[in-house]
């Protein structure tokens, strides 16, 4: 059903000077879908996300979001339109309190302060540790807690599409499980998610569909269960 198309990327390329980082990528995310994008180090996963959110310019191709062509929009317009990002390495604002970090996430939502208050409570319910430490500096949190804050902060941007960049990076297995549980929960509440991961097994285990990105090219796309069963994918990304 074409009306359920939330994000549509057609022939997208992106470069750093003469170096092509993304070549002719085609990609879709449906409303309410959880899509995984897996690939090794340097495959271009982060560049792809940055291009989607306007932080890195597209050199050619088109990005359509909810029926609008956002290819050349400024990042702040894209966030306001409903694409929010949980960046690689968390990138929380360390010298600011947890509460202030969350308020910054809601920067584009000032017109609806009731919603912001509700959603802040929702985030605190999702991650009780953040509520406990709300007046402490974000820099004092552990890696896993910073990841929770980064997700909470993105939720306050009222995402229709949530971009997650390597949320499992540098976390203990137990925490990875916790974070992935939350991702599934958010998706079941209706947020469409594009999950970029090196941890292919964990990502494909929760996703409905997957893309394999290799040196800037999308080389394969299929339902996640098919990818998990695919011999070539297993050898290259799942290690068995």
């Amino acid at each position: 059903m074409p009306s359920d198309l939330l994000l549509e990327v057609v022939g997208l390329s992106s470069a750093y000077g003469p170096v092509q980082a993304i070549r002719q990528a085609d990609l879709t995310v449906q409303v309410g879908e959880l899509v995984a994008m897996v690939g090794g180090n340097g495959a271009g996963k982060t560049t792809l996300l940055h291009t989607l959110s306007g932080l890195h310019p597209a050199s050619s191709g088109a990005i359509r979001f909810a029926g609008q062509d956002i290819t050349h929009w400024q990042p702040h317009r894209i966030v306001a339109a409903g694409i929010c990002q949980v960046p690689e390495g968390r990138q929380v604002f360390a010298p600011l309190s947890i509460a202030d970090n969350l308020k910054l996430g809601a920067y584009c939502q000032r017109r609806d302060s009731d919603w912001v208050r509700q959603e802040t409570e929702h985030v605190y319910a999702l991650f009780p540790i953040l509520a406990e430490r709300r007046h402490q500096l974000a820099g004092s949190l552990s890696g896993g807690q910073q990841q929770m804050l980064a997700i909470g902060r993105a939720l306050l941007g009222r995402p229709r599409l949530l971009l997650l960049d390597e949320p499992s990076m540098g976390l203990a297995p137990l925490l990875v499980e916790e974070i992935f549980r939350v991702i599934v929960e958010l998706n079941s509440q209706g947020v469409a998610i594009l999950l970029v991961e090196q941890n292919a097994r964990a990502a494909l285990a929760i996703a409905q569909r997957g893309y394999i990105l290799e040196t800037g090219r999308i080389i394969k796309t299929a339902p996640a269960t098919d990818l998990l069963a695919d011999d070539a994918v297993r050898r290259a990304y799942l290690g068995y």
Binding site: S53, L55, Q74, P75, H76, I78, V79, A80, C84, Q85, P87, Q91, F93, A94, P95, L96, D100, K103, L104, G105, Y107, C108, R110, R153, G157
Partner: protein, 316 residues
């Protein structure tokens, strides 16, 4: 709670002339310190909170001063109208300059603002027909506020202290607002701030304009208070002094900037007795502060005091 420091500052400003009535030092140095506080608190919004350097801030101070001087002496503008014109021109200049200049980072931004400060200073010296050239402009009329002439050092002291408190109060509120949070985010990580949907170019422009307005306001008051302006009051070394006040007091703290401004004003006054050695001692003290209290005087000393206090408590 947030305003405790503000009330303390107001109390000190109000009590000093009562405790030392008719003291020349309090009023005259207090006026200079108050003007410097307005300048430093405004510049701190840019340097301390938004993390953008300006080595040409004396230019905005000078634009406010010269606007008042030129418009009141040559065109017989009433002082408050001249002051408003100074604010508008400095604000417009900052706004026009911000977009191209604030794309730059670090050393490049420092160079660009430095160049801007030098250009404005050259104009003050060279545009003799308007500015009076190196000799400056004299005969700037008294500031009259709703029929109340500010004609004595005591009156000036109260006017400057009142505007200083207003400036501090505005800065405290700005920092705690949505825009203030956006600025702190920009300082933390400009990239991260853009990811939050903050239009960083716009946020930086806004803070640049606000800090220029603080400076122009101080400049107008300065022109009326002195009755005379000349380019020497707005040269590079003044710009650098302003940065020193912010850094000395402790960046990203409004009270730190105020403290730094007061400390540097007193230092200048106190070191006058050393004549030729003044600059030498001045420089040595600054180096010592940066080595031993790198977070600045205000933060460094208040942390030291807290540590001392807990030590005392533990002993008892």
């Amino acid at each position: 709670m947030r305003l405790t420091g503000f009330y303390a500052l107001a109390l000190v400003a109000g009590l000093l002339p009562v405790l030392f009535p008719g003291n020349y030092f309090i009023t005259v140095v207090g006026i200079a310190a108050g003007l410097n506080v307005i300048l430093a608190v405004g510049l701190n919004l840019l340097i301390g909170y938004a993390g953008q350097i300006s080595l040409g801030h004396a230019a905005f101070f000078g634009m406010g001063a010269y606007a008042s001087a030129i418009l009141t002496t040559r065109y017989a503008f009433p002082p408050l109208l001249a002051l408003s014109a100074g604010l508008i021109s400095a604000g417009l200049m900052a706004w026009g300059l911000a977009r191209p200049i604030l794309r730059l980072h670090g050393h490049y931004l420092a160079m660009a603002t430095l160049g801007f400060g030098i250009i404005i200073h050259v104009i003050m010296v060279q545009a003799t027909g308007w500015t009076g050239g190196p000799d400056g402009l004299t005969g700037i009329p008294l500031l009259v506020l709703f029929g109340w002439a500010v004609d004595s050092d005591q009156r000036w002291y109260f006017v400057i202290m009142a505007t200083m408190l207003l400036a501090v109060w505005l800065a405290l509120n700005l920092v705690d607002s949505r825009i203030g949070r956006a600025l702190r985010a920009v300082r933390g990580s400009e990239f991260g701030a853009r990811m939050m949907g903050i239009d960083t170019a716009r946020a930086k422009t806004q803070v640049f304009v606000v800090s220029a307005l603080f400076a122009a306001f101080a400049g107008s008051l300065f022109a009326h208070q002195q009755g005379f302006v000349s380019p020497d009051s707005f040269n590079l070394s003044i710009s650098i002094d302003l940065v020193i006040m912010v850094v000395l007091g402790g960046m990203a703290s409004t009270f730190g900037a105020a403290f730094g401004a007061i400390a540097l004003t007193l230092l200048h006054e106190g070191l006058v007795v050393f004549e030729d050695y003044e600059m030498l001692i001045h420089g040595a003290l600054l180096m010592a502060v940066m080595i031993f209290l790198p977070q600045g005087l205000f933060v460094g000393l208040s942390q030291g005091a807290r540590r001392g206090w807990t030590l005392v408590c533990r002993r008892q």
